[in-house]
Symmetry: C2
Subunit: 226 residues, 2 copies
C-alpha cells in the first residue's frame, strides 16, 4: 500500500506494528484521518472494574483529536480517563467471494486508535468539542438545533483522544485466488458490495403540521453514509 | 421494553446489569439472538500482552454459540482462549434528530457478549464451525465454493464463544423531546434512517467470460443487509 510523505506518517509502536496481512496495513496519516471522518459510531474498548467492555459510542473528530461523549453516569466514560483505551472505527464495504472458502473475506476500512482520553471540563472547550460529534453525524445540525445549556453541559461527559497512535487496515478489490488452481473449478468469484445510505426522513409523530425538514437534512436522503 | 418468557431470559451478572438508560436494555434471549443473526462483523475486545485491542472480526452463530476465526498467527485470536473477551455486534439504524442537541442520539441494536472462548481443534467440529461465518455472511456459499482442505483447516484458528452472558441494548423510534419546552422552537425533528443494502455484484476481473453468478448471490442484490 502506497505511503504518504514521511511527516504524515504515524509512529510505529508495539501496538500498531502490523504483524500480519502487511499489505492491508498502513501508518499513513491521511488514510487514518479518512476512516474516522467517514463515520460517527466507534467501538470503545475500556477496562472497567476489571471487566473489558466494548461499547458502541458516538464520536466526532477535528483532524487531530477524536471526541466522544455520554452521560456522566456512564461506567465506560468515567473509567476511560484513567485507562488506556482502544477506539476502533470500521466500515464494512463488501463480501469477498473467492473460489475457495479459505480465501473468502471482507472489504473494509478500519482504524484502531490507542491512548488515554482526557476529560474535557472547561465549558467553552466542552461546547466546541461537543460540536464535533453533532456536526460529523449531521452537518448543519449544530446551527439548527438548540445547543446544550449549562445544566446539559454538566450532565455530559466529553472525552478527547489524540489521533497520535493508531493502526489502519484496509482491504479493497477482488478475491486473491484468481491465479490459483481453484480457477479450474469454474466458479463465479467477485465482490458483493455493502452500501450504507441515508433513507427517507421520518418525522416525529408529535411534530405539528407544516414544519418542514431543513435543507441540510433533505439533501442527505439517498446519499452514501460512509 | 417487553420481556420474553422467564426460561428465555439471560442471567444478570455484574457485567450485564443495565445501569443506565434501562428502557433500552434487555436480557431477552430472543432479542439477543436476533442481533448477531443480522450481521457478520463483530468487534472483538481482548487483552494481548497487556494491550487492550478492539479488532473487527468476522463471525457466525448457530443459536447458542458464536464462532469467529482468523489466522493461527493472529495475536488477538491466539490470546482469546486464555482471556475473557467482550464481543460486540452493533447495527446502526439511524440518527435521532431532536429539537435540542442534548436529546440527539442514534437508533441502534447492540449486543455485548462476554466469556472465555474455546479453541475448536477437532477437524470435524472445526469444519462445522467454519460453516457458520460463511453461511451467515453469504447463505448458499458453503455448498458452492471449495471447502477448506486439511492444510487450510490447520492454518485457521476457530474460536467458540457461548452466547450465555450478554447485554442487549436497542433504541428505536422518534426523539424524546416531543413533549418538552423545546417544541416551541418550531424546529423539525425526527429520524434520518441508515440503510445497509447489498449492491450490484462486481465480478473478479480475472473471471473467464461466461461464468455466471449463482442465484444465491444474484438474489441478494438490492436487499437489506442487516
Amino acid at each position: 500500500m502506497a505511503s504518504g510523505s514521511p511527516e504524515r506518517q504515524l509512529p510505529v509502536t508495539a501496538r500498531t506494528r502490523h504483524r500480519r496481512l502487511r499489505e492491508q496495513g498502513s501508518l499513513d496519516r491521511d488514510r487514518l484521518d479518512a476512516i474516522p471522518d467517514a463515520g460517527f459510531v466507534c467501538h470503545l474498548g475500556v477496562t472497567v472494574d476489571g471487566d473489558l467492555l466494548v461499547v458502541p459510542t458516538v464520536y466526532g473528530t477535528d483532524g487531530s483529536t477524536l471526541y466522544f461523549h455520554g452521560s456522566v453516569a456512564s461506567r465506560s466514560l468515567v473509567a476511560s480517563p484513567t485507562a488506556t483505551v482502544c477506539v476502533t472505527v470500521t466500515h464494512v464495504d463488501g463480501l469477498v467471494l473467492a473460489r475457495s472458502v479459505f480465501e473468502h473475506g471482507v472489504n473494509y476500512r478500519s482504524a484502531m486508535i490507542f491512548g488515554t482520553p482526557r476529560p474535557v471540563t472547561d465549558p467553552d472547550e466542552k461546547l466546541a468539542g461537543l460540536r464535533c460529534p453533532t456536526e460529523q453525524a449531521t452537518p448543519g445540525q449544530w446551527d439548527y438545533a438548540r445547543r446544550p445549556d449549562r445544566r446539559e453541559l454538566a450532565a455530559t461527559a466529553l472525552l478527547a483522544l489524540r489521533l497520535d497512535e493508531a493502526s489502519v487496515k484496509i482491504r479493497t478489490g477482488a478475491p486473491d485466488d484468481g491465479d490459483s488452481e481453484d480457477t479450474r473449478l469454474g466458479l463465479w468469484a467477485g465482490v458483493l458490495p455493502l452500501r450504507a445510505t441515508w433513507g427517507e426522513l421520518e418525522p416525529d409523530p408529535l411534530l405539528p403540521a407544516g414544519v418542514e425538514a431543513p435543507a441540510h437534512l433533505t439533501k442527505r436522503v439517498g446519499t452514501a453514509a460512509n
